[in-house]
């Protein structure tokens, strides 16, 4: 089961297109779109109005999205049985290959736009861990500004602070430190001096999706980095990633 999300702050707005079909068939589903957000340590659930859709897509505009919202497809009966203390796997509709994704378009008002095919798997919400992402992979020294969106979704309706770091793998030093929030679409700005080949974004305690955004003359580019396990396809992937993360944990401890 996948969740979908957007961003809404004083720099970037977003639109989300969520398919009502599985990508190998255009047959549409009767499932409804719901949004949920944490409030006073409980998940609040609301049904998204049907008029925000056409036959094939739910089409969420900028004012339909806040940084706390997560969106998911479910049977209407969920309103009566929703667990407001923990997110649950509700159905397998979004279990597809190729992966079931929304189109998340991030834009500047009166300016450019950029999108990527976006999802946040339920399985990621049940785990704690850390993001590891190479800054230089997507940050752009020729851009006017560089940002990273860090989206975390955690099963419990908590709004806790946790740390994100820019660490240098060679000097073994922390170069920058940020405070971000669980169950939120966080935005951090990356100073150009931090865009180095050996600098990495690292979070402590919670997983998330890092989405890099660069802007220049109102043009926008956004893309997410891959999690480390995408780079190793052999059975030793988790051992190798743990070794690397252990090194970085030594830097930030």
């Amino acid at each position: 089961m996948n969740y979908f999300f957007g961003v809404n702050n004083n720099i970037f707005k977003s639109e989300i297109q969520i398919p009502r079909f599985r990508n190998r068939s255009l047959k549409t589903s009767n499932l409804k779109l719901f949004k949920s957000f944490p409030q006073n340590n409980k998940w609040i659930i609301e049904e998204v109005k049907e008029d925000l859709s056409n036959k094939y897509f739910y089409l969420l505009k900028k004012d339909d999205v806040t940084n706390k919202d997560i969106f998911f497809l479910a049977d209407k009966k969920i309103l009566a049985s929703f667990n407001n203390l923990k997110l649950e796997h509700l159905n397998d509709f979004t279990e597809t290959l190729p992966a079931y994704r929304s189109n998340l378009k991030i834009f500047i008002e009166e300016g450019g736009f950029s999108s990527y095919q976006s999802e946040y798997p339920h399985s990621m919400t049940t785990k704690k861990g850390s993001i590891l992402s190479a800054i230089n992979s997507l940050a752009n020294t020729n851009a006017d500004n560089n940002f990273i969106i860090i989206k975390n979704i955690f099963v419990d309706p908590i709004e806790d602070k946790f740390k994100a770091y820019i660490v240098n793998c060679n000097s073994k030093k922390i170069e920058e430190e940020y405070e971000i929030t669980t169950n939120y679409t966080n935005l951090i700005e990356i100073n150009k001096k931090l865009i180095k080949h050996d600098n990495f974004l690292y979070t402590k305690g919670f997983l998330g999706v890092p989405i890099y955004i660069s802007t220049k003359n109102k043009f926008v580019s956004c893309e997410h980095t891959h999690p480390p396990h995408e780079y190793i396809l052999s059975n030793n992937k988790f051992k190798k990633i743990k070794e690397l993360k252990d090194e970085i944990n030594e830097i930030i401890k």
Partner: protein, 255 residues
């Protein structure tokens, strides 16, 4: 039931049958019978119509395996799969970039390229690495719009050999695999789709009522006006790279 339990549901024969009958098809081959290999996506380059491509890649062997002095080779092909050039890069940083413009390739067009990591150090355990990398596309020197690698295509042994293998993505006998891009193509001035054939087989596909074919390794550009784009093909994983244009702005992403 006991007999069924004895059947390895992941056996090549079983996969072949599932793919032929289109019953829970398995789009990718596995790497069970190979040594340590470096897997490459089929990456798109374009230098046509004022475009420049920026390629960003990591030194995976150093980052994860602490192997120093590894190198990469990047192999460039035209849209007709004609070999253009091969370049080796040594003294890698953890993160590296290459600008691919018409001067670099001596051609204004589009095509595909592949990256392979090599080391002279024999690896003790089996490692299969895949550098998904990132591609930026800049039109007339405007901001690069980035997208990551999209289709696993070829692989070779990390300890240098001359053999490059393909067919990670599987094809089927019939053109019965549908994929609808999960985006509503509304309100764009123009949409371009770039397809690269990641296999050694000829791919046949159709969009709406128009039919196309794509020979092994070839790249094709299609301009599309439909709001819903469904691709019907004999390939189990055929996802084009999308360029969407609106006013002066453009957006590149995988589908």
């Amino acid at each position: 039931m006991k007999l069924l339990n004895k059947i390895n549901i992941n056996s090549q024969l079983f996969k072949l049958l599932r793919n032929k009958l289109n019953i829970k098809p398995v789009p990718f081959s596995d790497f069970n019978n190979v040594n340590s290999v470096s897997v490459s996506d089929a990456f798109l380059w374009r230098t046509d119509n004022g475009f420049t491509t920026k390629f960003k890649y990591s030194d995976i062997l150093n980052l994860f395996f602490k192997i120093k002095n590894s190198w990469v080779e990047i192999h460039f092909f035209s849209k007709n799969n004609k070999f253009i050039k091969k370049e080796k890069f040594y003294n890698l940083n953890l993160s590296n970039e290459l600008i691919i413009n018409s001067k670099y390739l001596n051609i204004e067009d589009f095509g595909s390229f592949y990256i392979y990591h090599y080391s002279n150090k024999k690896m003790e355990e089996k490692n299969v690495i895949s550098n998904r990398c990132y591609l930026g596309f800049s039109h007339k020197n405007n901001l690069y719009s980035f997208v990551h690698g999209n289709t696993l295509a070829k692989f070779t042994e990390i300890f240098p050999s001359n053999k490059i293998e393909t067919d990670i993505v599987q094809t089927t006998a019939f053109q019965n695999n549908n994929y609808t891009i999960q985006k509503y193509f509304d309100n764009f001035d123009k949409t371009e789709l770039f397809f690269t054939n990641p296999t050694s087989k000829k791919i046949y596909f159709s969009i709406e009522d128009k039919s196309y074919s794509l020979s092994p390794g070839c790249t094709k550009l299609l301009s599309i006006n439909d709001k819903i784009i469904t691709i019907r093909s004999n390939c189990l994983f055929l996802r084009p790279t999308v360029f969407s244009y609106k006013n002066n702005y453009y957006d590149v992403h995988h589908s």
